[in-house]
């Protein structure tokens, strides 16, 4: 195009400069729109925890609100998913967890640093961005949606009685979406994740709430978890299982949990 006039080159230059200015303004204004106000300022313990987070390069592997490393799980909601006690144990000896999967190095944090880091993760979980993202819970593990054992369960239930089939379906649902109870509840005695261990729930449910039968208690705990919060735990369980699960799935889960006896 040797015939381009000076005027058209000037126009091209003006177009270019206008685009650059608009591009930078959009990025700048778009970014400024998300600067948190003073109300969102970090409490001291969380701010200290953020320094621990940075000093140990946590963001090299983990992300918060989907931004950061992708070598390890996103930790936006890890505090409400696992709770203080579990995370404290995990941070003290991470290699003891997930023995067959990717392992986290041991950072040898002091007790104070661990407390600060937990305060930071708690704060992260409570920010407005955490309400918008992710669209559904991201589990670290324990969902087992495509594991061979679950697949086998699905096929073998054909030969079982209806009661046994319900228990098997409930067993699969316990560790797979959309229920995925195993993310927050252990079936082992004295192993506390975000929620109480459900080991022995079939026995405890009989006397947990006077006048309420065990199956009704479990059903209510799934559909309206705020009604019966176990002492020592906070009311953090998802409230949408009535929408996420159909009545058959809830009955299957109850059938499975009623097999979880003490001893």
């Amino acid at each position: 195009m040797p015939g381009l006039t000076m005027a058209s080159m000037t126009g091209a230059r003006a177009f270019f400069l206008a685009c650059v200015v608009v591009g930078i303004l959009v990025a700048g204004a778009g970014g400024l729109a998300y600067i948190p106000g003073d109300a969102g300022a970090m409490p001291e313990a969380a701010a200290d925890g953020y320094q621990v987070w940075r000093a140990n390069g946590c963001v090299g592997c983990h992300s918060l609100y989907g931004q950061g490393g992708t070598f390890a799980p996103d930790l936006t909601h890890i505090h409400s998913q696992r709770g203080d006690d579990y995370l404290r144990e995990f941070l003290a000896n991470p290699t003891a967890f997930h023995p067959d999967a990717r392992r986290m190095p041991r950072f040898a944090l002091t007790r104070a640093e661990t407390d600060q880091l937990l305060a930071f993760l708690d704060w992260v979980d409570e920010q407005p961005t955490a309400e918008n993202w992710p669209p559904r819970m991201i589990a670290v593990n324990g969902m087992g949606g495509l594991t061979a054992s679950n697949a086998a369960t699905t096929t073998t239930t054909v030969a079982l009685s209806e009661e046994d089939a319900a228990i098997e379906r409930g067993r699969a649902l316990f560790s797979a979406a959309p229920a995925a109870c195993s993310t927050c509840h252990s079936l082992e005695p004295n192993v506390t994740l975000a929620g109480p261990s459900l080991h022995g729930i079939a026995d405890r449910a009989w006397y947990r709430i006077p006048g309420v039968g065990p199956e009704d208690y479990i059903r209510a705990s799934i559909l309206a978890p705020s009604d019966y919060v176990v002492e020592g735990f906070t009311d953090v369980m998802q409230k949408n299982f009535g929408e996420a699960l159909n009545s058959q799935q809830i009955s299957d889960l109850i059938a499975f949990l009623m097999t979880q006896e003490e001893g």
């Binding site: 177009f15 959009v26 998300y34 992300s63 992708t70």
Partner: protein
């Protein structure tokens, strides 16, 4: 005049060699990181992933900046005494920065809000050196054609992004915000602008485009891509906060349009010459990174599912590799200019191998990581399989990633050895 060209050509050649060396090291470090995605047991003892990942990211960023600086020096037409005196010091300073950054990564000293920043002193030195190079190129390209103007503006934005990256507030949300903006401005806007200037400058210098056509394309594509870079930069924040629908729409249109226009102009002009093949590769990579993935992940309905997966990593990686490809094209052009005709003929037979190794390697990397990202979204976010279990299903795709990285690394090594 001849002394000036020798001085700037020598500086550019040194920087191009440094870029290639840095890319070979990057390929090795990235390989170590990729291998840990498959098996972190045996390799984690060598260096934990959070160090490997940060090291690889810094090496790639410095490599692409080094290529852009070399390309900028190659544009210099005249330089006064002061510039001739300053240039060798700037080049030495930049090489020293590269060496220090290498050791900072090796020793696990990289820090910052995204884990990708150099230690603060090196970050400051980087900005100062960038400004020095900008001054030298501004002084030596007084004709102010589109190539030098767009390169100068692009590198100015890169330096500004580096400065923004130095703002640490101690507040996690603010730091994440500034970090996202700094990294986005640096790569998506500044580096891409400088890349566009070098690409069309090369098309003109190799005779594939008349100067007027190359200049107008530089302005047109540069403008569109800067706009695209701006909106793509803010897109992750918008998606995570459930933000503006208008911004999402703007991003989709601008990012796709800009990347397609750039690719078409490059591919139409590229005539199969060895130098221009690198530009064609850059056009394809930029279309995948800033264009397709930039547009798709900016849509809230998509981005909410892809944020934090291998797909969001890939957007940045492909855009970075596009800039690197143009840097390699500039290095190839500088090398050809320095060779006498008989050597050129001798080299012609073998010279295609490094390009094809790199091209096939990065495309395999792109396809493998895109596949891994899609599977991750489906298993982890739709079906609800846990993160750790999902990673086990991705092992074959990570193996393809390793194969691609190996091929690209070998290609880069061959490219460097051919010099």
């Amino acid at each position: 005049m001849e002394a000036t060209r020798e001085s700037t050509d020598s500086g550019a050649h040194t920087l191009f060699k440094a870029m290639i060396a840095l890319l070979v090291v990057y390929a090795l470090v990235a390989l170590l990181g990729a291998a840990q995605f498959v098996d972190d047991r045996t390799l984690a003892g060598v260096m934990p992933y959070h160090q490997v990942g940060a090291w690889a990211a810094v090496l790639l960023r410095l490599a692409l900046l080094t290529g852009l600086l070399g390309g900028g020096l190659a544009m210099i037409e005249t330089a006064n005494e002061r510039t001739r005196a300053l240039l060798p010091w700037l080049v030495r300073g930049w090489l020293a920065l590269l060496v220090l950054a290498f050791f900072a990564g090796l020793l696990g000293l990289l820090e910052g809000r995204a884990g990708l920043e150099l230690p603060p002193l090196l970050d400051v030195a980087q900005v100062v050196l960038l400004l020095g190079f900008i001054g030298v190129v501004a002084d030596g390209t007084k004709a102010r054609d589109a190539f030098s103007l767009v390169w100068l503006l692009g590198m100015g934005i890169v330096a500004a992004g580096g400065l923004l990256g130095l703002l640490l507030t101690g507040d996690a949300l603010r730091d994440q915000l500034y970090g996202t903006l700094a990294a986005g401005l640096l790569l998506n806007v500044g580096a891409v602008l400088a890349m566009v200037a070098l690409a069309f400058g090369l098309l003109h210098r190799t005779g594939a485009l008349y100067k007027d056509g190359a200049e107008s394309s530089t302005y047109f594509c540069g403008g569109l891509l800067a706009l695209a870079g701006g909106v793509v930069t803010v897109a992750p924040l918008n998606v995570a906060n459930g933000g503006s629908v208008l911004l999402q729409g703007l991003t989709v249109i601008v990012a796709l349009f800009a990347a397609v226009i750039f690719a078409l102009r490059i591919l139409r002009a590229a005539n199969g010459a060895r130098v221009l093949r690198w530009l064609a590769l850059a056009a394809v990579l930029l279309f995948g990174g800033l264009g397709l993935l930039g547009a798709l992940t900016a849509v809230e309905a998509v981005g909410r599912w892809t944020l934090g997966t291998r797909l969001s990593d890939l957007q940045t990686l492909l855009t970075s590799l596009a800039v690197v490809a143009v840097g390699l094209g500039a290095a190839e052009a500088a090398r050809e200019n320095a060779l006498r005709e008989e050597h050129r003929v001798l080299r012609r037979g073998l010279a295609g191998a490094p390009f094809w190794l790199v091209a096939v390697g990065v495309i395999v990397v792109g396809v493998a990581l895109a596949g891994a990202g899609l599977v991750q979204v489906y298993l982890e976010r739709v079906v609800g399989v846990g993160y750790l279990e999902t990673q086990e299903y991705l092992a074959p795709l990570y193996a393809a990633w390793i194969a691609g990285l190996t091929a690209a690394g070998l290609g880069l090594l061959a490219f460097g050895l051919a010099d």
